[in-house]
Point group: C2
């Protein structure tokens, strides 16, 4: 009876595996199949090496194109989702294909704002040209992992030329997301200089475009003042690697103020960085960065599994529990141990 069960289960697994076949998945992706794209993104985010191998195979069919990867970041309440809704809708009606990936780092278990609903992209949900992935949060601290880069690549394989990566709320992802995209858009709501203080120089220095959102009704005048404050502080920022000066634009998701200027600014930015070769250089260095991270992760996992290192680690742990040592000394001890093992092998 239990033997029979054993026979049934492997068959079940095989049936599942056929469903996940890399060639079929690649074919479906290249056809732009949304359901299979969602499936591929889940595999990319999976921790099972089996799943990641399928994605590695799928990605071997990735062809470089001049896609546009854009981060939309900003403090909570800046109206990022409605902004993406309006601009995405505008682009989609022009026949452009847009994928929207949301990164939500601060609560791996639960995700999302505690008092808020998740999706305010009402117009986009029914757009054929738009793919929305509500939470592409990685499994690593910061919510941005190599898997997020793979999600971008997979979306592009499925034909999406704009990939918008939205960071949700206050989070660690605001800096990390810059390692994924070509263009960094910082969205703020109209506010006094005092409120703009909250936007850190580090974030400001990432911005390729400052968007003052909600520039409508009562807030229009305040928005203009905010634009001036931001423009004034730009002189304090280091020059960008691509050599272009970040623009400041007023915007309103309600009145669609400057929507044409905004899409034109995005397109012009890409023309300029492709032209001056920043686009290519930046993508290469991003790939190098992800390579380094993947390598480092693998180094740690593999070395920690070596019996001598495992033992040493648990002895250090004991010493620290007994207050006989502090972590500050551990690095040197581990280094010595690894070097000793390698000396023996060479």
């Amino acid at each position: 009876m239990s033997n029979q069960n054993k026979n049934i289960n492997p068959n079940f697994k095989k049936a599942n595996r056929i469903k996940l076949n890399a060639e079929d998945l690649t074919k479906k992706l290249l056809e732009g199949n949304k359901m299979q794209l969602s499936h591929a993104l889940s595999l990319a985010e999976s921790l099972r090496s089996e799943d990641r191998k399928i994605i590695a195979k799928v990605l071997s069919n990735y062809k470089k194109r001049k896609t546009k990867r854009i981060a939309v970041t900003g403090p909570p309440g800046a109206g990022k989702s409605t902004l993406i809704d309006s601009i995405g809708n505008h682009l989609a009606t022009q026949g452009k294909k847009i994928a929207i990936l949301t990164i939500d780092p601060s609560s791996p278990q639960s995700g999302g704002s505690i008092l808020g609903d998740k999706t305010r992209m009402e117009q986009l949900i029914n757009q054929e040209n738009v793919y929305i992935r509500p939470s592409a949060s990685g499994t690593e601290a910061g919510g941005v992992s190599a898997a997020t880069m793979e999600c971008i690549l997979l979306s592009e394989m499925a034909g999406y030329e704009y990939v918008i990566v939205e960071t949700v709320g206050v989070g660690q992802s605001e800096v990390a997301v810059s390692d994924l995209v070509d263009m960094y858009m910082l969205v703020v709501q109209p506010g006094s200089g005092d409120e703009l203080q909250g936007i850190k120089r580090g974030i400001m220095e990432l911005a390729d475009l400052f968007l003052i959102n909600k520039a409508d009704g009562d807030k229009l005048e305040l928005a203009k003042m905010s634009a001036k404050a931001i423009d004034a502080s730009k002189s304090l920022l280091h020059p960008k690697a691509h050599g272009l000066k970040p623009q400041t634009l007023l915007y309103s998701s309600e009145t669609l103020l400057n929507i044409d200027k905004l899409t034109a600014a995005i397109d012009q930015f890409f023309i300029d960085i492709i032209d001056n070769q920043f686009y290519e250089k930046n993508r290469n260095s991003q790939m190098s960065l992800w390579l380094t991270r993947e390598i480092n992760k693998s180094i740690i996992e593999t070395v920690e599994d070596i019996p001598q290192i495992k033992e040493l680690k648990s002895s250090l742990q004991n010493q620290i529990n007994n207050s006989e040592a502090f972590p500050i000394e551990a690095g040197g001890i581990i280094k010595q141990a690894i070097e000793d093992i390698f000396k023996k092998s060479s």
Copy 2:
């Protein structure tokens, strides 16, 4: 001539080294010397292994005491600095010794808010019982590193019984800082439910105390509503590891509303967690975490220096530059290479 120079330089270095002698530094720290504490913190944050060795020696004299490590976090504009100024002043006049360490993660080069001044702790600056370290930002992403933990330990060696760790602005440090402290205080300003949306569940779940700051004048009524909104959302949070329910308090740095309640709440929190042994357990697991991080850092640095791994990494780099591979495959290749080297040695 060049030989003479060689003779002079080592002497110079020796003279410097005498200044940094671990025993003398320990003695000065235990006497509570602020200048030498600053010096010790700089050594802890230094990347030179020589400096870190001195700190390891100094820390070997660390004696466990029931100190209070408190994080003060919250969105920009919540008034964290003035809050710390008023509460620190209150405690200092009661004869308590307080160290304040500020973590500013988002701009490693420049630090600080772009439009703001750094220190609004006007009362504290002249307090004998208070030590302020304006930026204890680590060298690692997130601004929180093992060095920050060492800074806490060194401050405690210098006699500070309250160590307040303030995170500056929107940043990755808000989650990371919870690995450093016993008590996590989340400061918000009075706002509507909509604004409170911006406070992520992940951050709310860290909080041991919710402080609604600026509860004065016009804002008092709004502050009361905010308190209700927070209290309502508490039911959605997972229970805390220490089993205590997080309190909500209104506060004003101007009118000092509830200052006695606040300090009493802090003291009671510590009595309770010492009593139920969370205090000890939590500190042990924090130390384990820092141990793991130090070990991982050392593993990467040491293994990356092994010639075979170095070569392999650069070959993977080339393949990625030529779009022949994606980082997703690198992990498995590196794992195999490390295992092969270790098999030879055993």
